[in-house]
Amino acid sequence: MLRLVIRRLLFLALVIWSASTIVFFIPRMSETNAIRERFAELARTGGFSPTDLEKIIESYTKQFGLDRPLWDQYQDYIVSIFKLDFGFSLNRYPMTVTDVIMQAIPWTLSLLLVTTIISFLIGNLLGALSAWPKAPGWVRAFATPFVLLTGVPPVIMGVLLLFFLGFRMKLLPLGGSYSIGVVPDGSWTFMLDVLKHQVLPALSLILGSVGGWVLSMRGMGITIQGEDYVNFAEHKGLGAGAIFRDYYLRNTLLPQATALALALGTVVTSAIVVEGLFGLPGIGQALNNAIRSNDFPVIYGIVLFITGAVATLMVLMEFVYPLLDPRIRNE
């Protein structure tokens, strides 16, 4: 067990190190200079002379250490990974990278958690029931539309939802985190408004992913029904409920949890894209802005944060498997 833990941790470190190294060099190949971007804009509006501008840029470049050799910067960068501190945002100075991430993370996390849990639960329940001969007929009817939507990319789903529910029927807001004119004060009205803005992004993520769970669960359910242990459970005189729960669902848990772990990466990417589409101020938008202004400390912070989070979750899942299936316990 200890060896496994060490192996997994080494693996985790390797993943994070390779991702962070690639991530370090990519923004450096860009011509865009974040400091110049920012002050050029200020210069246009605020009117200081081009010579001043060059001086300011120079001093900031020095202050951020960007004039030093790339190799030195890389070393600092690796140190900053260990310290989990990437310093200041170039573009949104004096905000730190941590500030930027912390501000954005609640939006992304809540969207991700809610949508993943909802589609996993709905999909697996519908899939399990639609393979179960004793389930009522409406279950299958209810599952079909989800199955038909399987694989529609969340962005396309989002555009369609925006067009029909938002634009044509005006049922829900088109984007943003809350309505203009609503005071962000934590009151019920405000909360409700925020929730309304979350419905379409959430639906875009949920609608296309439920079907996948339905299909995989249904397939598994049909296999498990033919298993001798399900028949024997019936011979033992167990009721349908107990068989469904303890023999049938219980045996699909491990493969489905594995599938969930594998899906995590995609789920995060989809969430980021959908946030962009709906203008939610989450990680996706923060990353988007950072890339556009080549604000590399923020890019580093976000990419490493996501990589670290997904890798950690996957490693954690691996320690959950033995709890779900005793057969993997002895390995």
Partner: protein, 327 residues
Amino acid sequence: MNMGQDQNPVLRVSNLEVTYYTDSGRAKALDDVSFTLNAGEKLGMVGESGSGKSTLALAMMRMIKPPGRIEGGRVEIGGVDLMSLSEEDMRQARLSKIAYIPQGAMNSLNPVTRIGAQLVDAIRSHGIKDSRAQVEERCVNALKSVDLDPAVFRMYPHELSGGMKQRVCIAIGILLQPSVIIADEPTSALDVVTQRQVMETIDRVKDQINAAVILIGHDMGLMAQFVDRVAVMYSGRLVEVSTVREMFTKPVHPYAAALISSLPNLENKGVFQGIPGLAPSLLRLPGGCSFHPRCAKVMDICKTTRPTTRMVQGNRLVTCHLYNEEA
């Protein structure tokens, strides 16, 4: 019509019929099957693959699944006809009145839960409200009575050998002390030594709870050592039921006779003779007696008229026109 040697049998199966409605036609897998069994008695059920042995067992449990259907008949245990019970009452009857130890015991245990949980849920599902400790004690006793260590209670199926899993299934079968236990080929996947042990275990627990036991199997030899009576099935019909001694020394049905003489013995030096011809498909059964194309004693009437099951020589059952006069 009295179909057994006892006026008060614990099990009475009468005129049981099962049909599978397959895409290629209707297959009558059980045709007018009747027999009785006394408490403490062991019946061996033999017949070629596909002759309907498992179907008979499943029909008695009322566990025939589509495309199969029980078309009629009665299965009375202690005077109560299982066929007339409500779904819920039948569920309760499973394991408490009649237990089935399935053909594939290797995979009959839930791989992800402990053996203990799989014994406990069987007890709990029958509305037994004993304390946890009492239930556990009961399970451990059941495990002990099939020669398993009480530690098995906390183990998982993958930690057990084939023979141990088979014993666990038997332990589950006797948990609620049913009056009838059906064991479907309980030994077919086991080595010879384990086979013997499992059979002896069944024998012993049967005595403890005085149950009637039906042992399904191919192996006439093994059967002969453990059962009191032997029933022979052929294409969905029970063609002969006799005591072991009668069956092996003087079988009455021509098919049973062919089976017995095909067994390896000292005279023919272990050469398996086999029975000429093939077992018929249930979809295209020959008319009259379905055995007639292979029967050495076939008569004209056999090709046109179905023989009925009748009692001969005291308490032997036979389904053959040769015995029409003796009825």
